[in-house]
């Protein structure tokens, strides 16, 4: 199996006719971990949602390819089956659909017709993965995300990621709402998947997560663009100094999307 490549070229994304992502380029290869940081409201989740194909976000120009395939031409489910995964900042709740049933349907959709995992094997795999993430076995039969705490929802996102083994995993604030033990479990799950077969885009506000998941690249987003890239020391610098020094250096007064440089 060859190593995947996600290429984003000059991407522009609008919500309700307002441009949020304003020309963003980035390449993520299998084995690489890219962290995206940046103040609130600078377009990080918008980028993630647009890559996954959320209907509220329209791509007005630019190109996105996964292993040369045009991602923007694919429906949401096709993107997922092609190997794109987004751990969402706010996962939906679906009443009446058990977590296990959902996971099995998702996994079999990813594996493709004729290649479904037998039920027994699936349950064995699920139990193991749940144990790794310290998720109580009762969560298999609970309705999808319904009544889950913030941290439980995040762990459930990671459970899905480790079952689906995506080519490119985008994690949007996976660390929010996690206690320190859960943070380590989540980091373990990411590190376990870390291989030339998977590339990561990790959106976070906190250096703490990046101590456990050490990134190869760190990018800072402001006003819907990447304004600075560096290695892991950039994250350490931001943690120590905040965004103000960087803004001054770049001549940015208001970093949010609406404002212009």
């Amino acid at each position: 199996m060859s190593s995947p490549v996600l290429t984003i070229e000059d991407l522009r994304v609008s919500v309700e006719d307002k441009e949020i992502v304003k020309g963003l380029s980035l390449q993520i290869k299998g084995g690489e971990i890219h962290a995206v940081m940046g103040p609130n409201g600078t377009g990080k989740s918008t980028l993630a949602s647009a890559l996954m194909g959320h209907p509220a976000y329209s791509v007005t120009s630019g190109r996105v390819t996964l292993d040369g395939e045009d991602v923007l031409a694919m429906s949401v489910d096709e993107r997922a089956r092609a190997g794109l995964f987004l751990a969402m900042q706010y996962p939906a709740e679906v009443s009446g659909v058990s977590n296990a049933n959902f996971l099995r349907t998702a996994l079999n959709a990813r594996r493709g017709e004729g290649n479904e995992l037998p039920v027994i094997k699936f349950h064995r795999l699920l139990q193991q993965k749940m144990k790794d993430l310290n998720i109580d076995p009762s969560f298999a039969e609970r309705y999808l995300n319904e009544g889950f705490s913030g941290g439980e929802k995040k762990r459930n996102e990671i459970l899905q990621m480790s079952l689906l083994e995506p080519k490119i995993a985008i994690l949007d604030e996976i660390d929010s709402g996690l206690d320190i033990d859960a943070l380590k479990l989540v980091a373990d799950a990411v590190n376990q998947l870390r291989s030339p077969q998977t590339g990561f885009l990790i959106i976070t506000h906190y250096q703490r997560l990046l101590q456990y998941i050490v990134p190869d690249y760190v990018h800072v987003m402001m006003q819907g663009r990447i304004v600075k890239s560096g290695d892991k020391t950039l994250a350490e610098y931001l943690e120590a100094n905040g965004y103000d020094t960087l803004k001054r250096e770049l001549g940015i007064v208001d970093e949010t999307v609406g404002a212009e440089a």
């Binding site: 996954m52 489910d77 987004l86 939906a92 679906v94 009446g96 659909v97 959902f102 349907t105």
Partner: protein
């Protein structure tokens, strides 16, 4: 051509002679027929019946052909679930089967005509006692001309493990189905029954189907009453199902309708006894140009009586449904409590749903009365979430719809029938 007002209706006379009926019954039929002809076809709150024709011409004495696919599946299900059933097609009793284990316990399961002969006191005491002829034009029609029907009697203290099934099938031979089920459950007894009403209605304009179920539940007895219906387009369909509960009795209704017909239905519990309890769980799937006006009602008379109503409707195409949950706490029903939950899901932009919660309270001392109603469409955020995990849209929608329906379908007490209903739902919602 409809029947003119007549004290000596030829249709009543026909039934009286065909079944050699006792004078008391013939008199009741005549009285009901007079009521039927004198009552107007009304305009209900949400449904106008004034222009609906009432074609009541003749009562077939024979039926042709075999069981349809759905009836066949339910028959096999009834056999698999213990073999206690009655199968009626076009008003003609085809088969009655009571396993020895039930007969031994003194359970009576007969078609209603035979029961009038064999158990006249019981039938005379209870028939029309729960659903009287005067309550509506369609109740009067059934009271006058019911044919094909079931009688069940469960003696004191007998607690049945096996469910009893009634299958009523209306083919194109029939000129309007008028089945009547009379179920009497004595004190401390326990019964679970499942009733299905299958109508092949296509193109039978003007025909009227009116089904009635009367359920008499004695002190400390409990009943699970599960009713399925499939109505086709063309006829006007009515169902009236009511239970009367004595002290500490309990009745759990599970109602499922998968239809594209024009239907007015009522399911009601009269909580007469102190401490009596009832629940109604109902799921409806409407498609085509279905029109359903459905009321689930709880009428509290008894001290400390309790009720709970959950209604769930899924509508596609141009279906239009009104689901009314109605709770009436009468004076004297002190410390009564009730809950109502209504959820409607519309698929596509042309389906319509109304959820009407009603609460009438004539008693000051009430424990709790809650209601929640929602009418909406499939949540696109949920669809997106499932699709983001590789699940195609159609499958994602199917999962979400079944997420709504599953808890109610699962409440249906007979497993083989449950899977049959699931396949109807998948078929009609194009989910297969």
């Amino acid at each position: 051509m409809s029947i003119k007002t007549s004290a000596h209706s030829p249709l009543v006379a026909d039934l009286a002679s065909r079944f050699q009926e006792a004078p008391w019954l013939v008199q009741q039929r005549e009285r009901a027929f007079a009521l039927y002809t004198s009552m107007p076809s009304p305009k209900l709150e949400k449904t106008d019946l004034r222009d609906r024709p009432w074609l009541v011409e003749s009562i077939p004495s024979a039926t042709t052909g075999g069981a349809g696919a759905a009836a066949q599946a339910l028959l096999e299900g009834a056999k698999a679930a213990g073999g206690a059933y009655v199968y009626v097609r076009d008003g003609v009793t085809i088969e009655t089967s009571l396993p020895h284990s039930l007969a031994k316990q003194g359970v009576v399961l007969l078609d209603l005509h035979t029961a009038v002969d064999q158990h006249p006191e019981w039938v005379r005491r209870h028939l029309y006692s729960v659903v009287p002829a005067e309550e509506s034009k369609w109740a009067a029609l059934n009271a006058a001309l019911w044919h094909g029907g079931v009688f069940v009697h469960v003696p004191s203290g007998v607690r049945l493990e096996l469910p009893i099934h009634f299958i009523y099938e209306e083919t194109m031979t029939g000129k309007g189905g008028l089945p009547r089920s009379l179920i009497v459950v004595e004190d401390r007894a326990s019964l679970s029954f499942a009733e299905a009403y299958l109508c092949h209605g296509e193109r039978q304009e003007g025909v009227v189907h009116s089904a009635v179920t009367e359920l008499v539940v004695g002190p400390d007895a409990d009943v699970t009453a599960a009713c399925l219906s499939r109505y086709g387009k063309g006829p006007t369909n009515f169902f009236t199902r009511r239970a009367k509960l004595a002290d500490n009795a309990s009745v759990d209704w599970v109602i499922g309708d998968v239809s594209d017909g024009f239907t007015v239905g009522l399911v009601e519990s009269r909580l007469e006894g102190p401490g009596s309890k009832s629940t109604t769980r109902s799921f409806g799937v409407g498609y085509g140009r279905q029109r359903l006006d459905f009321t689930a009602s709880m009428d509290h008379f008894g001290h400390h009586s309790e009720s709970d109503i959950t209604l769930m409707g899924v509508l596609r195409g141009r279906a239009s449904s009104t689901y009314r949950s109605s709770t009436h706490i009468e004076r004297g029903a002190d410390e009564a409590s009730s809950e109502q939950h209504d959820r409607m899901l519309m698929l596509g932009s042309r389906a319509q749903a109304d959820a009407i919660p009603m609460l009438l309270i004539d008693e000051n001392d009430v424990q709790r009365c809650g209601h929640a109603a929602s009418v909406g469409r499939i949540d696109e955020n949920q669809v997106y979430y499932l699709m983001a995990r590789g699940i195609p849209r159609a499958e994602a929608e199917r999962m979400i719809i079944w997420g709504y329906l599953q808890p109610l379908v699962d409440a249906f007490p007979v497993e083989p029938w449950r899977s049959e209903v699931a396949s109807w739902i998948d078929g009609e919602l194009n989910l297969r």
